[in-house]
């Protein structure tokens, strides 16, 4: 192992520690922190080696992929008056088993990390072949994923209307809201990608205010409005899990995660949705494990693809940012990255167990609405600092769109229209026409 790899691994460990702070905040995405790192790198050119930067980013993404289960379990107690579906993590929290939920997700994450490392020897051979076969078809595959995402949302109405029309309108309330969310977020994405609303020097963060508004702020707003309180948590030394269930969860999550990691604009959530449907999941434990695996395989896998010799596939926001400064070139660096993933992932898992216990202690002592309010201030501060008032305006518009699925009980995943719609339109050559219709030329 050479000095470059050691730099990479060492800084990956630092990255995990940094991400441990930010990953525990609700609605905070690690790409926001990475954006901050990028600005710092731009201003202090030459002081940080490229390998150290790559390692730091690797640590950030591994840490985030494993640790961001904490806010989703602990910092969002479900208020039955404001939500439509209680997620398994929230269920566990209300059953005083939040630590167990975090541990189950962590087991899934660890499984995903080991699976990625087990696949590492084959990636340099398999990835270029898969890429050669699928690249000419990306436009319709992405369209197929989008169509399935929209078609597979089923009515959540109560089916109690007196007439057929009432039942139809009831059923289509959430479905229509989902389609509207997709369309509006798609138009927003199209406007952002084809205009100069965001300052040119922050072009790599062009969609950041939209993502903060679509996903981050609605979560925080929902928390602020919530009246529910999490009960005092119990800490058990074991989890209710069988090896067969763990294997099934890791398998399903890995499939979804790999799919999402390979295809641009397909996120871990969409991958997990597809995998969940494909494996007909019902068990909450299976859901938690597969979510843990899917997240890790998606975030870390997409980042690792950049290091695969002979492939240099740039997928995901982190890889996109890093590739602007650094392009890994040797098998030694690739194996250094794999070793960094294993080490950083193991550290992140231990941190997860410790931080979930700390969060379980904190959740009954600190009102999470206070934490949500602080997060809201931080998010707005980030947007304002990086993208100015125009960015804040974009975030406000995006928040309006992001609140539609929250208020009407449709899938929040439809907000991914912000990326999916512009990409599909662009790849099918319709970009200039749509740009013209929207008056952006």
């Amino acid at each position: 192992m050479n000095a470059e790899s050691l730099w990479l691994i060492g800084s990956a460990l630092i990255g995990v520690l940094v991400s441990a702070v930010f990953s525990c905040l609700p609605a905070f995405h690690i790409t926001n922190v990475a954006g901050l790192v990028m600005v710092w790198i731009l201003r202090t050119q030459g002081t940080v080696s490229q390998q150290a930067l790559a390692g730091l980013m690797l640590g950030l993404i591994v840490g985030y992929a494993v640790l961001n289960t904490i806010p989703s379990v602990f910092w969002g107690a479900p208020d039955e008056s404001t939500i439509f579906i209680v997620w398994p993590g929230q269920k566990y929290l209300m059953q005083k088993r939040g630590v167990e939920a975090a541990a189950l997700t962590g087991i899934g994450s660890l499984g995903g990390l080991f699976l990625l490392c087990a696949l590492a020897p084959f990636l340099p051979k398999v990835l270029p072949a898969v890429r050669a076969v699928l690249t000419p078809h990306l436009h319709w595959i992405l369209a197929a994923v989008t169509v399935f995402m929209l078609m597979s949302e089923w009515p959540k109405g109560s089916d109690r209307g007196r007439t057929g029309l009432v039942r139809f309108l009831d059923a289509w309330q959430s479905l229509g809201a989902g389609w509207l969310t997709f369309l509006l977020s798609g138009v927003l994405g199209f406007v952002l990608l084809n205009s100069n609303l965001i300052p040119a020097e922050m072009a790599f963060q062009k969609l950041m205010p939209a993502f903060v508004g679509l996903f981050g702020i609605p979560w925080v707003v929902q928390n602020l409005l919530s009246q529910a309180r999490a009960p005092k948590q119990e800490t058990s030394r074991s989890v209710d899990l069988t090896p067969a269930l763990a294997l099934r969860g890791v398998g399903a999550g890995a499939l979804g995660g790999l799919f999402a990691a390979f295809f641009p604009a397909v996120t871990g959530g969409i991958g997990a949705l597809l995998a969940g449907h494909a494996t007909a999941q019902r068990d909450d434990r299976l859901f938690l494990i597969s979510q843990g695996t899917s997240k890790v395989v998606y975030y870390v896998g997409a980042f690792l693809f950049l290091f695969v010799p002979g492939s240099h596939l740039t997928r995901g926001g982190m890889a996109g940012m890093l590739s602007a400064f650094y392009m890994p070139y040797s098998p030694t660096i690739y194996w250094g990255a794999v070793a960094g993933i294993l080490l950083a992932g193991s550290c992140a898992f231990v941190l997860l167990l410790w931080l979930s216990r700390a969060s379980a202690w904190l959740v009954t002592r600190v009102d999470y609405r206070c934490i949500s309010a602080i997060t809201l201030v931080l998010l707005v501060g980030f947007v304002l600092t990086f993208t100015g008032w125009a960015g804040l305006l974009v975030a406000m518009v995006a928040t309006g769109i992001g609140l539609v699925p929250v208020l009407w009980g449709s899938r929040r995943m439809n907000c991914m229209g912000v990326l999916l719609l512009p990409l599909i339109v662009q790849w099918t050559g319709l970009g200039p026409s749509v740009t013209g219709w929207l008056g952006l030329q």
């Binding site: 269920k91 058990s236 597809l274 449907h277 099918t428």
Partner: protein
Amino acid sequence: MKGIAHFVSGVAIATFFPEVVHGAVQNLAFGPVLGGIAGLLPDTLDFKFVRCFSRRDGEVDPAQMLDASGSPDPQAIAGQIVAAIEQAHRSDRPIHLQLHTVRLGADLWRQWSVTLDAPHNQVIVSLGPVVTTSGEPLTGSEIGSLEPGRAPSPVPILLTGDPEVRIDLFSGPTLAFQKVGEGVEVTFLPWHRRWTHSLFMVLLLGALGWLVAPVYGLVMALAVLTHIAEDQMGCMGSDLFFPLGRKRVPGLRWFSSGDPTANFLTVWIGLSVIGLNLDRFSQAPVLPVMPYLLGMIVAPTLLLLGVSQWTAWWRPRRAAKRAVFTSSMSVGEWLDETAEMDVES
């Protein structure tokens, strides 16, 4: 089968046509997506349109039929179902009865079941445990003192499916009662898998696709046909010969629609076929066909079926040794907290 299995099957069917694959690459067309849409369309039509406008002659809402203690009254429910059977027999026209679920919270439902006991000509209604949206029952949540409700039917009950209907999550099912001879035939979900799952639909979508391009007509027709064939392997069957016949042709009962192995295998095989076809019809194929088929389709299929069979053999033995449901906290406490949350909201 799950929607994704039908969708992937439809896309896989489309990739068997070189024109569709070439069109997708050279003209940036969306032919394979049409296959997916057609594959999922029968269920989309049923669940998002047909169900809303389906006929409804009566409703059974246990939350509105309470006894003196405030619990749903199984006897009254059984009585109402038998009344619908009688009405169907008397009026000689089909009676559609909507059974509603009992929602207790955002994630809690009271399970209840209707057993159409044909040998004894009676309807039995039982209240089950409280279940979560994942279908997980909470131990001790049964109403212990409550006896099942039993109502004798004055006319013979003729079954076309399983005798027990369990109602728990989201929207409840519809039952149709229709006089046949001296008895009354019971049909589960009378609005589902009718014209949308028929050979008529195959022709209709085929014709619609044909208008765009003949090959798309073929793709869409075959995608719907594949959907119907996949559903026929289950229990309910489909109304294959609509409008000539108005009865569902029973399924082969090889597996239920939610079976994880069957669903996963269908998706896996579909995706593998898509990969192979895209490569076969590319300018420079890289995949060796036979090793690919063996490695990606035959071996995983055998492995998964083997594991599934072994699990089916092993699970009942293990289940007998385990506690029914292990939870780290008592259910009573859990329910108390839920009630508290309801009050707060």
